[in-house]
Symmetry: C2
Subunit: 207 residues, 2 copies
C-alpha cells in the first residue's frame, strides 16, 4: 500500500475506534466514523466496503497491538511465569490507554451482532499461553501436574471475564487491581512456590 | 396481573428468548418475536412498548431463574464451599438447558447496544457469594485470609469469562468441564484443605 493509503486506513481505524467504543457496533454510523476520522465518506468507501469491514479491521488492529505488546514482553527473555503475569499487566494497561484496544474488545463481545468469527484471537492467546506454561514447567516454576492447555484456556477466559466485569461495574477503574487479584487467586494452583511471586511488587514495578 | 396477561407475557419472553439467542439484539425483529411467541403484534405492543423493553424482561427473567436455581441449592443447608461449587454447576447446566437463560446472558453481553444497566445481576451474585465465602470461613473450609468480597468478585468475573469463551470456542459444548476446571484452579487459593474437594465427584454427583 502507498503511504497515503496506509495513513487513511489508520485514520479510519482510530476514528472508528472512538465511535465504536462510545456507541457500540449497532449505534455507530458511517457518517460519524467519517467525521471522527477526518476522512471523507468517498475515501472511507474506497478503503472499506461496509461498517462490518471497518469493525473487523478494528478487531484485527486491536489484536495486532496486543500481540505486539505481548511479543515485546516475551522477547525480554525473562522466565515464563513472570512473563505471563507481565503480559496480563500490559494488556490491562492497554485497555486503559489505547482506544483501539478498548474498541476491539467491545466489538469482540458484540461480534455476534455482525456475525464475525472472533475465535482467532482467543485461540491465538490460548496457544501462546500454553507454550509459556510448558516453558514455566521446564523452568521449575509451574507445577508439573498442571495441564498447560487447560490452564491457558482458563487464564484467557478468566482474564476476559475479569476485565469485562470491571468495565461493567467500575468503567475499568479497578481493572489493574482485579487483574492482580486474579493472579493471587491463580498462583497457589499453578506455582511450585506461590510465596516466591509477590503480585503487588510485580504489578507495581512498571505501573 | 390476570392469568391470561401472565401467560401472554410468559409466551413473549419464551419466544423472544429464542429469537434473541439466535439473532442477537440488533438483528431480532418484533415480527419474528410475534411469530415465535404465537402472540399477535397487537398483544405484543399491549404488554411491551419496545424491543428494548422485551430484552430487559428477558434479562430479568433470566436472572430470576438463576436466582431461583441458586436459592434452591443454598436452601439445602449444605456447607458453604460445596454450595458455591454446586451453584456454579447448576448455572452451567441452566446455560445448556434453558433458552431464556442463554438469551439473557447474550443480551447482558450486548446490553451496551441498548443502553441497559446490567450491573444489578453481577452485584447481586457478588454479594451472595461474599456472604457464602464468609460462611465458608466460619465453617472452617475457606482460608481466613481470603477477602470474601474480592474472591466473590473474582468468582463472578471468572465464571462469566469461562462460560463466554466456552461459547465462542465450542458453542458451550465444553462448558461444564471448563467450569469444573475453574474450580480446580481456584480451590488451592481458597480452600483450607483443597484435597478434600474432588471436583469431578462434586460435578458428577447430580450431572
Amino acid at each position: 500500500m502507498q503511504q497515503r493509503a496506509i495513513e487513511t486506513r489508520s485514520s479510519v481505524i482510530e476514528g472508528a475506534s472512538k465511535v465504536f467504543e462510545r456507541a457500540g457496533y449497532g449505534n455507530a454510523s458511517l457518517s460519524e466514523i467519517s467525521t471522527q476520522s477526518e476522512v471523507t465518506k468517498g475515501a472511507l468507501y474506497f478503503h472499506f466496503k461496509s461498517k462490518e469491514e471497518i469493525a473487523l479491521a478494528v478487531i484485527e488492529a486491536q489484536h495486532a497491538r496486543s500481540r505486539e505488546a505481548g511479543d515485546k514482553v516475551t522477547s525480554r527473555g525473562d522466565k515464563a511465569l513472570p512473563t505471563i503475569l507481565e503480559c496480563c499487566r500490559v494488556f490491562g494497561q492497554q485497555l486503559l490507554d489505547d482506544v483501539v484496544v478498548r474498541a476491539g474488545i467491545r466489538l469482540t463481545f458484540e461480534a455476534s451482532v455482525f456475525d464475525a468469527d472472533v475465535t482467532g484471537p482467543y485461540q491465538d492467546w490460548a496457544e501462546t499461553m500454553t507454550q509459556m506454561t510448558a516453558q514455566g514447567q521446564r523452568e521449575g516454576d509451574i507445577k508439573a501436574e498442571v495441564d498447560p492447555a487447560d490452564f491457558a484456556r482458563y487464564l484467557v477466559a478468566s482474564f476476559t471475564g475479569v476485565q469485562m466485569v470491571s468495565n461493567v461495574l467500575t468503567g475499568r477503574q479497578d481493572v489493574m487491581e482485579r487483574i492482580r487479584q486474579m493472579w493471587d487467586f491463580m498462583l497457589p494452583a499453578v506455582a511450585v512456590d506461590p510465596s516466591r511471586w509477590n503480585t503487588e511488587e510485580l504489578f507495581a514495578a512498571r505501573a
